[in-house]
Symmetry: D2
Subunit: 345 residues, 4 copies
């Protein structure tokens, strides 16, 4: 059994890691930390996990972790992550970081969209952990930058178009909608039940921080710089992201041809389900699972392709993908502990 620690386990991403790791057959959770809940049992804070996990939250103590854990998940906010990860690596831990701190390869881009970076020397070493697109470097990585939720959905929706040079790169528009768990578990008026319920809005326009991460991935796939428009919206649901991606086709393509491209691109992927032609994804059909469902449309009247991807933002968009990366790092079958069917209804 591989020994695993989760730092920052009391947010929605953290507790989702605990849910998934408690079911993982090849790992043992040895340490979960939370400043806020240190000393309390996990099941007291998260009654859902009573019977699945018998641990107490500890205070964060990166120094001692290396002796106890083979691999550490950091599920803390950006900026906090970069403060502790160098120490964890120095102590010999391998790290899967769920924050944004090591996702962007270019420090100036990071600093333009976030704030100063205090560990830029690690940016070139960090591997962007989106296995379906960049699987090769993951097994040997010391530090994985686990992708953002929006970027995961967009990259999987658009990758076959870019890899096959099917679209005009200057025409990409991404309209994304996320469930409220993506906004975190800290107490804010904006995410109170009554503020979100029966509501729907766009936010962070026109410069959401996931934009450069999406552009970096698309640029890598296209082999050239890509600039997109990206609009996130807040959905009155707990889980789920749907990204509706628009682009102009370089030359006419039928839905059949397009569908074949996607089927082929993802033929060997366990977690990408290219839906039958004419079927469109629904976030309720992936809830609780590591699947990414993809649907397609071709608009003959405008020459545009519309590619839609649905994921559970807490699973394929965060904790599930992090475990997928962990499996690769530990030389386990990539889908170990992750073949959980969605919960519908």
């Amino acid at each position: 059994m591989h020994r695993i620690a989760v730092i920052g386990a009391s947010g929605y991403t953290g507790v989702e890691l605990l849910r998934l790791l408690s079911q993982h057959p090849k790992t043992e959770l040895v340490c979960v930390t939370s400043r806020q809940y240190a000393g309390q049992s996990v099941s007291e804070v998260f009654p859902s996990l009573q019977g699945s996990l018998d641990l107490f939250f500890e205070n964060i103590n990166p120094a001692g972790l290396a002796d106890r854990a083979d691999l550490v998940f950091t599920a803390v906010p950006h900026q906090a992550a970069m403060g502790m990860i160098p120490g964890l690596l120095d102590a010999g831990c391998r790290v899967v970081d769920l924050s944004a701190d090591f996702r962007l390869g270019d420090v100036s881009t990071y600093e333009a969209w976030y704030q100063e970076h205090t560990a830029p020397e690690l940016l070139s070493e960090a591997v962007y952990g989106l296995p379906e697109l960049f699987r090769e470097q993951i097994p040997s990585a010391r530090l994985i930058a686990n992708p953002g939720c929006y970027p995961t959905s967009v990259a999987l929706a658009l990758a076959p178009l870019l890899e096959n040079s099917l679209i005009d790169l200057s025409t990409i528009i991404v309209d994304s909608k996320s469930g409220t768990s993506g906004a975190g578990r800290s107490a804010k008026v904006d995410t109170l039940y009554c503020e979100v319920n029966e509501g729907f809005k766009a936010y962070s326009l026109p410069r959401h921080r996931h934009t450069p991460e999406i552009e970096q991935t698309l640029g890598t796939l296209a082999g050239t710089d890509v600039i997109i428009s990206f609009t996130p919206h807040l959905l009155p649901v707990s889980r789920g992201i749907l990204s509706t991606c628009y682009a102009s086709l370089s030359s006419p393509l039928s839905l059949e041809e397009l569908h074949d491209v996607y089927i082929e691109s993802y033929a060997s992927e366990a977690f990408v389900r290219v839906l039958p032609k004419g079927q469109l994804p629904n976030i309720s059909q992936v809830s609780g699972s590591n699947y990414c469902d993809i649907g397609l449309a071709v608009d003959d009247r405008t020459g545009r392709v519309i590619a839609l991807a649905a994921i559970d933002n807490l699973v394929k968009g965060a904790a599930g993908q992090a475990i997928q990366n962990m499996n690769l790092m530990l030389s386990l079958p990539e889908n170990t502990g992750l073949m959980i069917p969605p919960l519908f209804p």
Copy 2:
């Protein structure tokens, strides 16, 4: 008091007409019809209206209506509307039709997106009742085609851009999201609570029937044909539409300049609220009201404008706008009975 009848009053649009008309100070509801509920009291079928409305549903009898009512709302499905409206007009009624049957001026377009039209001779007479854009012909009209919910939101979001020739017409993409009341009140598995709850999906891609209606309005405003991409989505809320509209600016424009254009365009409109710069609309802020809230963003990186409009699909997107048209037809102040603040939370 003007005497009013509502045909097809048992759907969500119909009952919303009843709610609003029961509060209208200058009209009297004299007849409400429903095949399904004929003989039952309105308050038995819709307990919310007990105390507000003391009427029984009748069977539809267009022949006798002209003697009883000065103005008739038809809130029946498309195709059914065109079957009864010629008779109502012949009998001397004025009609506000909430179906799609008389919205498109061109019969071949209608027949390409719907089915055969049996009253094409009325298409040129019917006035498209979007007062903020086409107010002049409404007062004298005999037949108003009340706009669709999606088209209302999109037209109000984009009109100032088109009227001022600020965008490249070939680049318009509309990503809309609607609450479930827009799908009607008939019993279908697809709109059961458990199918919609915690879900979100696009539908009718790439050819939703509201597309030609949107294009007709935008084309009129632009003075030339306009072809757009339009993607509707289903939101897990009862009420509300948010349309996120993208287009490339013809020449660079700051958010300030853009905001000024909208403020000026809608300066004299009671129901269009152009939000302060930087504020984005939320459907929960217009619920139950006839307002259309508009927010704006300019994406310098891509040269695109993003215009967002939020309405209550049952009010400004249907029953409220129908009453706004009625007010104009009856020479009443346009906002009579419609200055209802939204219900939040």
Copy 3:
């Protein structure tokens, strides 16, 4: 026009007062206060009210209020209310207090369930403002204690049974369910969207603070002490309370007889809708309105009556009832500005 002030206008009860007062034909809102938002416009904080209300939040300044306002609503938390109300009264204001501070006539009961009371001398003067049951003293009152949301629903559900001595007083059990707006608008993890959504739980068992208030009202109606079991639950909706009340009948009674008793009890009440026999109330049928819907069942097998009442907790359970009290205090027709039909769906 009567001049009105609202102290503490930024919570859900406060903004509901603003919505309703903005529509009231006989009053003018002259002052709204909020520590948190002082200096900001109301419509900036609550965009729903843009166009309905053109005011800025002020800091609380009870001293100067008497010159500006004829009547003041205090919508601040308990304990804060008792700190400012003596000063308001001294300055000559009449006050409708929406907190719990003056609802209990007995100071020792108050102090047993809340904390020390600093203005006990006002307890005997304060009038409990539940017009349907205690209308007489309201018009001349200087200080109205506006009833709690749960107590309003329970008192209206049970009053006819107590007034007619139809039940065994020792058998009353009240199982209530409230929407989340009842928990207030301050930032807490417990009322975040993801904590409430798809959830349902009881809370504050077995001693919720509304218990003595309910018992006081029932005791007054019964003419003797009444002790009940009261269990509140949290519903994943924004608005609404349903109270399901159980009691053993003193002697057998048919549903018809029982229904007649209720019809007679509430025959002259504008806001109590006793539903037809066999129909049960639904919170969605009173949303946004000042109605209390009542349904009844008699369980022959056990000799119990079940009385159910549905209200909108923010309207009949708070702001609407407060305005009903204000109307009586100002010698206006009791339903002025309150005949708003519910918003369904």
Copy 4:
């Protein structure tokens, strides 16, 4: 591998059986039937199951099933079940029936609450499959009557009180609240999204059909007839039941003593989680799992105990409990395939 068939697999209970059986390590699904969807693939009808289950819906053919399946789940409506089960048993199948047809031991009680029973000879053979209370007869049963959702929650909430003679049996009142999936997946106006959303109501008062089933179980545990009041309500959530159960204590008991009784009663049960003293169950904490969470309160003022139980109505209230019964019938560990942690949020 044991071969399993599911008859009537297209309702919410049916698809939940498919979700759980697709993860079960010791069984193989060999046949799933649905009149409505015969010939379609399971994943076409339920996209959530794509990748988990590769089967097509068949028409029901009870005759041939015995050769193909060792055990059959019948997930069809009551009355339909009794029509096919005798044939299945005659053909040699063992059956777990999820309908109500074989839950009541007394045919006259069944016929008083449902309709005529056409297979009364099987009532004495059928075993009521609530393992925590009646485990002994399940392993050898040919026909299991899988308990109803409400009755499961109520029986587990009250059993320790009855088994230890702690309450006055004439005082039991059960106030239950169920998610909407309990109302089934057939198209009805009453369960449309907009009818349920933001609503809450009681229904089927005062004679819901689960009443005699609850009374039968409580009577068996008490060793004498028990008559209760039972009020079901409809919650605007997809999954979950919370039952709030009231009874007068026979003699005073502290919460500590009461809690100890429950801890002891359920000490060896894998699926009953007696929460820590003072903690109350929430349906969101059991969603997707086979757990029943129990919370307790003692109301000293009235001498009543309040016992609350939360289950997922589709799992412990239907499909999960059915598999628990199947495990016992097949001599597998009772929790095989069922140790799934709840999905929160």
